[in-house]
Point group: C2
Chain length 341, copies 2
């Protein structure tokens, strides 16, 4: 197997090195050919490297950086004044081809803005998109994009999202003709706003995409489509609404079983496996949203990811390197252009 190098922003996320360092230690253990360049503040990290027994690891390189991008930094601030931050240095390593991918749990807006400037967009892509994996009852689930990188999009941009989503589904899941759908407020052709209708037209006329039509909000978790395309405003609202409902239901369940000693006993008995079932709905389980459309691989972990979830983001990075996702997107875009001519 070829050598793989991932640059990890050690300082990103709510917990920072206390999550990223042990996750990296696990990843090094799991992948015998993985090299990691860890970027962060040595004052926080050195003792953690020792604690997790990777301070002398032959496949770990450590780069000190005392600057961090904070959760409140605006994208423009991050771009102008965080050029020595752990996040920026991780992206720089990908740009300089010293790393094949980078992983960060830091500020999403800043990561997207920096990635766009440092790595540049793939030819034919106007906007990057944030994509994540949604679970479903039976089967592999669906990819949903965009999740908030672009709060309004025209039909050409949505078309590019379809191409990027299909490329990811093909490469990471090995699907030959992933089913691509548009998120809409009805299944009939007359439903939706102008942008969605125009995008449907573009997708119908394309032989490069296996377009299956519209899906509604209640079908996001049904596995009806492999790739679901929408603008970042709608995608963000859908994903966060799902999160809110899950929390409300869990609260209701707990209340339900809090009526008498017998019920509480039952809950104690079943709660662990119940939680593990519900965890499949937890975004952390599918942690590792990809920032697609760039000349390089960038994986965004949730800010509140724990060690296991951050490791999941590293797995996603490894899979995308092995499947050469950016190259596949470019190939698919080219076949679309051939369609047009």
């Amino acid at each position: 197997m070829q050598k793989l190098t991932i640059a990890v922003d050690a300082m990103g996320g709510d917990v920072g090195p206390h999550v990223t360092v042990p996750a990296v230690a696990q990843a090094l253990n799991y992948y015998p050919h993985l090299h990691v360049t860890l970027i962060g503040d040595k004052h926080f990290i050195n003792s953690l490297l020792i604690e997790h027994q990777i301070s002398q690891h032959p496949r770990l390189e450590f780069v000190h950086s005392s600057q961090v991008v904070s959760a409140n930094d605006k994208p423009i601030t991050a771009l102008r004044s965080r050029k020595q931050s752990s996040m920026r240095l991780a992206l720089d390593l990908v740009h300089q081809q010293q790393a094949d991918a980078c992983v960060s749990a830091g500020n999403t807006g800043a990561l997207m803005a920096m990635a766009k400037v440092v790595l540049k967009l793939l030819p034919g892509i106007e906007r990057p998109a944030l994509v994540t994996h949604l679970p479903e009852e039976n089967g592999q689930g669906s990819l949903l994009l965009d999740l908030g990188a672009n709060s309004s999009c025209d039909s050409e941009v949505l078309m590019q999202f379809a191409v990027m989503g299909a490329s990811l589904a093909e490469s990471v899941w090995g699907l030959t003709k992933p089913r691509v759908a548009l998120l809409n407020i009805g299944e009939e052709q007359i439903k939706g706003n102008d942008v969605v209708k125009q995008t449907a037209q573009l997708l119908e006329n394309s032989s490069a995409i296996n377009y299956i039509g519209f899906v509604e909000g209640n079908q996001i978790f049904s596995g009806k489509a492999d790739v679901i395309v929408c603008d970042g405003f709608v995608g963000n609202i859908a994903l966060k609404t799902a999160e809110g409902v899950s929390q409300l239901i869990l609260a209701k369940l707990k209340k339900q079983f809090d009526v008498n000693w017998f019920a509480r006993f039952i809950l104690k008995l079943f709660l662990p496996s119940l939680k593990s079932q519900l965890k499949q709905l937890n975004p952390d389980q599918y942690n590792g949203a990809s920032l697609l459309g760039l000349r390089g691989i960038v994986i965004k972990s949730h800010g509140h990811a724990d060690e296991k979830a951050f490791l999941q983001a590293i797995h996603q990075a490894v899979a995308e390197i092995q499947q050469q996702v950016p190259g596949r997107i470019t190939d698919k875009l080219e076949s679309l252009l051939i369609d047009k001519h």
Copy 2:
């Protein structure tokens, strides 16, 4: 108490008279001053009136109509070719002031188009909005609008939605200063698309509305706001996503308890009250979406509402008549105009 008259479209919905007739029988029983005009096909309805012992009810009037609006009728078809339908006749009765409100479980698009043409919009309102009640863990929940009447809206229209939502919260819940929020992809001022930002500006400058800022998708069910405003595309996606997640979780729960005889026994023991807890998340529990902004009261019931849910829609109609919701919206719009000058 004053005399109340509600026109009920007996034929609307997946089940039609088998749901609407018994619900009407219950409503007549519940409200001693309620008069109902029931419109539908006598061949289906006569025997049901006898079965539910309301064929000779002194406060029930029956109007025969053999035409129905089907679920597949386009709004334009409904407008042009369904002028004798039970839905249209129910709206006509409101327009002719022979009924104070109408309730239908029929085709939403057709109902909205017909209501707009028959009843006309209130002065100062550009578009009607569909609003529903969302549950939350503790407390009365929130009103969410629009739910699909308008797939794209400018800031003036969203502002009118805020006024209509606040008026409804004041009148039906008796709140003096309902907290109004905009649904957005972040809580910070810089987040969101141009329309949302412009609407925020309008709301901040208005003394007639108690504007509290942005809420995100995961806060829809948190009770943080009494009224949550968004365009119909986003509102529809959010509501249907919530429905999809609830279904997925219920399926997972059932699976969870399907491991051995003991677990199945426990599930049997707890399922009824568990379902009743989860039912609070069921839109039917809060059935009766109001179509606001019209010169008359129109309540849309879910197409798949059962008897209890359809009765809920009648309750909503009664409450809106008693609180004179359209008049309150007009008053609030006027105080907004005073704001401007």
